[in-house]
Symmetry: C3
């Protein structure tokens, strides 16, 4: 039963410290300030190009960065607190693996597509990209939530971030696909990677913990904090690294309307699939966000506001139906135990988003984009490709991403099966108590203790 | 008892889908990207006017927009979670009706005062205005909280948004009043509309649910999340659509100091009106925000920092006294059941704000405003009107708003009385359970079950 | 027992109103809009200097201001809700004293280092500085949390803000030290001031309330909201008032990486010092933030990303060890009862930050900083001082700050010992009930009542 030694006392510190020391060494060797963050370089460029301090990239990206940052740490972290006794782990492990992943992503994204003279130069844009990559890891975390130790999660993060950077390089730099909000690179990648891992880690006896795999009243409210923050800031997420000017503006607005329509669809379908006509918090917490996922590729394109709404509306329907009908099938028939239903929130809406991006790209015309074509589809603008070919690369990118993610997830799952990572036993999944010092809910406990004492005392008195 | 069929299975989906489809059709026909969000138009204007991408309106409005967005979805949503068993509905229905209202507001505000060549052109400024209009609907929601079904709320939103847009057009475009932060158009309108609705929906037997119409410890903490976010971001709310430059800057700062002074007043009055000298969470959660409401009109004017503080201080006093003394009278004498006390937070402080705006406008002088008069009072600057006349229009606007809101609310209430909307019965108000799948509070339940089992077992053993 | 009259009915209102009236009078006499917030002055300068509205300071500081504002009101407020029955007071008194302190800070910082022609001119930068000063008061609040009345806290704020402004003037304007993120002026000052106060207010019988001086499950989750917001926005805090351009950008990024490394260190040490290898929420909630504190001085310097990570990593280790080993010693040996452990989060990491700032300043070279030296070390750039001398002033500033804070805290503690401020008795510390109307946790109470009724009824039936 060595595999159920869940004591973290040596395993977690060693993992954290070894990984952090490796990161620090690699940062020392490879990472440097970029022009906008380096005192000497910025002032040199500023005087050379007659720029003002106000043209520093900070002022055009940092507010978006902070919104993305909130989504990663509050959004994902609290969304997963819906489980009754897994709130510490949800928000805590989310915090830990995100803090690690953003460092590792800086290195991996730098190595694969950001080297300048042998150095990785960093600034606010690389910070956004690092947070984006972290988002994919947190999506995968959602699939295995409650069934993995923090040591497993950190190891998963090391591999997933690395493969993410490779896939991102293939999609954006080799295939020249557009995917600013990451329908493919973030959502499809994160979802199918996580599904691959959780498939391999299948626990036939997970029903032993099943009574903990649900919410309580207040845990659902904590989760709504996560939901609402993700919903509100998704326009910033999708627009954070698009071209400046109309592109950022349009992407944010398309996402705003997509999410609004998605929310109406989610409430409608949630009520209709329930026998008593009641709403289900799981749907509201998750499916209402699918409209953001589905705008990750086409958000920056000239999709029109109404096009965005139609996409969001479809995403909400697909996602809610997935939670209701597909998740049970995936578990029973395919042995995929997807705790948070990431297939419904990120997988299918990601595929929808990639598909919408493919179609919208195929319709790109100079009449609609004008000179703006240069920012959205530079290859079409420069005559290097046609809308049809661009659409083909978009579609191919979706396939490549699904392939790398699924295979990567399965291989990672195999590695994580080795019984040395303090994995929880089947009876102790979805339970903070094995990894955290958990305080008692003293209030009712004290009262209950009082009740019990009375009970015990009564026979004595009677 | 047809009226107490609270099953949403058909009613909610049909309402949501019909409304969303209508919105989508109207968007397809009428709504287009504006110059700052359209790829072709932006690049054309940019090269024509020798502009840079950094001059896109996105960079000067979007951070304010996101702050407003947080107020609408987190602020209002969580402020209303104070009820012990209505948290799902508070944050969930807030989410639903806000997501609908912002779409409908885009259309109505476009129709009434935003058509360009027969089309509604949208960008970040229209998004802020749509969120503002949504705010008024959520204020009205506060008045009827716990006593209405989501179907009723959506129908209320359709009518209220429409009337809001008409009133806004009258106040801002016909009467040429200033009201950038919406003391009148948002707060007075939302409050008196909601009071009209709740007056007509008066329930003489609401005491049957009275034991649920109060808070528990943790629900009050969730509500404080809403309060604090509203308080922090109110400077952004009031300044979000003022003129760029000193106007936005001054409005934000005036609101900041008004709110700070208001908070001191609220704590002072809350303690003094309590027989044991204890503070009341209802006051802190609500009245401390009155300083933001009261700066909605005069915030952009040269009110001076000290003037802002005096206004905020008065607003805090009035609002706290309202919660303590006026709310019971309104319910008992006037049959107005105002769940969240919106009359105290939005009604009276809105009237104060409109009055302060009237007075401050009457004192406008070239000596104080200099060339800045052009932005704050363009009609005075251009000699089309005098400060005294401007003040008269300001005052008249308050009256017009109160009239349209009250009558509109009463008529809407009559419509909502028709017993076909899945309204909750008197015994089931303030209760999530009728519209939501609510999980058990397993922890104490399990323990209680254990206690009970022991009880049952004991006699057997004994 | 006069000292244990905890009725606030007269004491709190009188304190609040007297203080607010004094503030209002001083604002009327001394405070004016600055050039960027005054309608006349801004338009005059704008036309004179051929500026655009977009160059108003609002656009370059306000997003940072709002992030800082969130840290002050949500961050500090919710971080302290970890206590099981002190959530109302934590977030409520945090709200009250912050709302007061920011007004008083505007005046004190104005008097000591911001007078222009006998007037204090204010705008977004002074708002950030006022929030910063408020941060120091809230740190001190953390040291005395649960053991003081709101009247005591307001009086503490009056004195602490005044001394803060004096110390800030000495450090920044007399000694010409750099400390943009306040490792010294905010963190060391706030921590040692609070420790001074709590030392004097030592309660030998505090164990009478000891069972309330701990968390429950949901209170720890509320506290994590505070933690995560502080963590996310600390890059904005440290960069909020640095020079525009590369300085703000670099400071934000250095802090981002410092915090990420700090988080890994915190999880590692938390697990290793626990006998069962379990993580402790107290560490995660607090020590993971030490990386932000430690970057308050050197964040704007050319510390390099890897340098920032090393500093953050050390800060996490020191802080976690402090919570585990030093806090008990401080209480038992030195009679310092530090409720939130501010010595571990702000005291020691502040000293680390000041030390790192001293060392980094001593290494400043024209080769590294180029023309950017002008912004970071203007005195070195202008030849008025050398890196070595600058480092000496940095070190001296740390000493001066510790001295003023400690002595100021002790004297304030003596003043607060006078038994007229509604101080809680030893048996009622960490308890909302004495200052707040607290609702029952009806849910389990009702059920428990039901259980009890059954119990009572059973004998009758049996």
């Amino acid at each position: 039963m060595a595999e159920y030694n869940t004591n973290l006392r040596l395993k977690l510190p060693i993992t954290c410290i070894v990984m952090e020391v490796i990161v620090i060494i690699l940062f020392a060797v490879f990472v440097r300030y970029d022009t906008d963050t380096d005192a000497r370089k910025w002032h040199k460029e500023k005087s050379h190009d007659n720029k003002s301090n106000y043209e520093n990239d900070f002022y055009f990206r940092y507010p978006s960065f902070q919104d993305v940052h909130v989504m990663i740490f509050i959004g994902f972290g609290f969304l997963m607190t819906f489980l009754q006794r897994y709130g510490f782990s949800s928000v805590g492990f989310n915090f830990l693996i995100a803090a690690f992943s953003l460092q590792w992503a800086t290195l991996m994204q730098g190595f694969f597509h950001g080297m300048h003279n042998g150095k990785i130069e960093i600034g606010v844009e690389s910070m956004i990209n690092a947070d984006f990559c972290t988002g994919a890891v947190l999506i995968s975390f959602g699939a295995v939530l409650g069934k993995t130790s923090p040591v497993q999660l950190l190891i998963m993060a090391v591999i997933e971030v690395t493969l993410f950077a490779i896939n991102e390089f293939l999609v954006l730099s080799v295939l020249n696909a557009k995917d600013a909000g990451g329908s493919m690179t973030i959502h499809i990648f994160g979802a199918y990677f996580g599904l691959g891992v959780t498939r391999v880690l299948y626990r036939p006896n997970l029903d032993k913990s099943q009574h903990k795999n649900c919410s309580v009243y207040h845990s659902d409210l904590f989760a709504m904090i996560g939901t609402i923050y993700l919903w509100m800031f998704w326009p910033s997420f999708n627009s954070a690294i698009t071209a400046e000017g109309d592109d950022q503006h349009r992407t944010a607005m398309n996402t705003y309307y997509s999410l609004a329509a998605c929310t109406l669809a989610t409430f409608a379908i949630s009520a209709v699939v329930n026998h008593e006509g009641k709403l289900d918090m799981v749907h509201i917490q998750n499916a209402a966000l699918a409209g953001g996922v589905a705008m990750g590729t086409a958000g920056e394109m000239m999709l029109t506001p109404v096009g965005s709404m139609v996409v969001g509306f479809l995403a909400g329907i697909i996602s809610t139906l997935g939670f209701k009908y597909l998740t049970p099938i995936l578990e029973e028939k395919f042995h995929v135990q997807d705790t948070c239903g990431v297939h419904n929130l990120h997988g299918m809406p990601g595929v929808l988003g990639a598909t919408v991006g493919t179609i919208t790209a195929s319709l790109a015309s100079a009449e609609v984009y004008g000179e703006g074509m240069k920012d959205v589809f530079p290859d079409i603008y420069e005559g290097k490709t046609t809308p049809f070919k661009q659409a083909m690369w978009q579609g191919l990118s979706m396939g490549v991403t699904m392939g790398i993610a699924s295979i990567g997830g399965i291989l990672t799952g195999l590695l994580l099966k080795v019984p040395i990572y303090a994995t929880p036993p089947d009876t102790m999944c979805f339970e903070d108590n094995i990894y955290w010092e958990v305080p008692g809910e003293e209030d009712s406990h004290q009262e209950l203790a009082a009740v019990r004492t009375e009970e015990v005392e009564k026979p004595l008195n009677g």
